[in-house]
């Protein structure tokens, strides 16, 4: 379900936009829409075109790997104030995981084609957004590596 409302205010409250120039935020808001996902429904699936990214307002979304004949493996869960999806920035623009709402979740989606168009026109907007995505990607990569090492048991094994 997609709703469009005064999204400037919603974006202003999300951690991703903290301290961002109003003008840039309004440009992004022009590509944004509210979306609601009920528990168990998919926001997107692995391999889908990455034509949006999402800001989580409320709820919880699991990033999962589908395993034939078994329960999916959850690799990360995201909650309010988290950002979800950066495949829209990287060719071939395809989702790398399934994203499934674990509970009723309210998200803001940002249309990738719309935003890429604005970033191509205004490279300073593009630079601003890349500066905000890079630390998130780096922190997620560091966290994913820590998840590999059994931090709570025998890290040496």
């Amino acid at each position: 379900m997609v709703h469009i409302e005064g999204l400037e205010r919603v974006l202003q409250e999300h951690a991703f936009f903290a301290g961002m120039d109003d003008g840039y935020r309004d440009l992004v808001a022009g590509c944004a829409a509210n979306e609601v996902f009920h528990a168990g429904t998919y926001v997107y699936r692995e391999g889908d075109p990455a034509d949006k990214f999402y800001l989580i307002r409320h709820g919880q979304v699991a990033l999962e790997v589908y395993v034939p004949g078994k329960s999916p493996i959850i690799v990360e869960t995201l909650k309010s104030d988290d950002l979800m999806g950066w495949s829209w920035l990287v060719p071939p623009f395809r989702a790398s995981f399934d994203a499934r709402a674990l509970e009723l979740s309210r998200l803001v989606s940002i249309d990738a084609a719309c935003l890429r168009g604005k970033m191509d026109q205004d490279s300073s907007l593009g630079y601003e957004l890349h500066k905000r995505f890079a630390p998130i990607v780096a922190a997620r990569l560091a966290a994913a590596r820590r998840q590999l090492i059994d931090l709570y048991g025998h890290p040496e094994e």
Binding site: Q60, S71, A143, R146, Q147, L151, Y152
Partner: protein, 284 residues
Amino acid sequence: MTPLPAIADAAEPMVPIPFRIERTVKNLSDTFTVDLRPEEGRKPFHFAPGQFNMLYQFGVGEVPISISGDPQDPETLVHTIRAVGAVTQAMAGMKRGAVMGVRGPFGSAWPVEAVEGSDVVLVAGGVGLAPLRPAIYHILANRARYGRLVILYGARTPRDILFRAELEKWSSRLDTFVDVTVDRASGGWHGNVGVVTKLIGRGGFDPDNTAAMICGPETMMRFTIQALNDRGVSNERIHVSMERNMKCAVGFCGHCQFGGQFVCRDGPVFRFDRIEEMFLVREL
């Protein structure tokens, strides 16, 4: 501040006192809890949250294990043990009625009295929740003396969550924020997946008026300290519990030396700014 409880038999700190196993509970595939009672006629066992005992398995050996029970119940001595090697695996096979030797309590304690009035953030990984549990009992028993109480816990998988029923009970309290995360899970899990450091931003504590206490493997504590620092919690507000191999537990043998400190006597709980330099030295 109340002085720390002295060892049960101060005259003979090297002589284990026999305690009988009253109950054993298998918490996880490799982790179990024993409730011990002193043999007839012995005094109740007082301890401060964070202190440990040397537990002696007759004929096998002796290991340092933190006390995981309620400091307000000196009649029952509780230990939660992960079976990793010769002694702890032998202990895992002990049944109700068997006798275990106990020396202690030893070491420093979580500063639960000194931090009254501030927010408290407790971060545990794996079996590290056991040494923090007495601090949680103490704080909950004196809840009005503290600000926000935040309990963050990380485990490998949902099957490895220690004291799950108690975490759920604490989480249902309106005055306590509990968040648990695992490294990986399958579809049936509805909680968090991700490293424990990711939870730190969610507790809503005041970094300038927060006391953090961390217990888990050193690597986990290192990353947790970084995450707390990133949130503005300074090192003198952070306490950690250190582990080193021990023999005497009373500061004689030097086995547990950590830089200029003895973990058995000066620790195991240290204020982080006091050991920061050593903590970051590799191979110490």
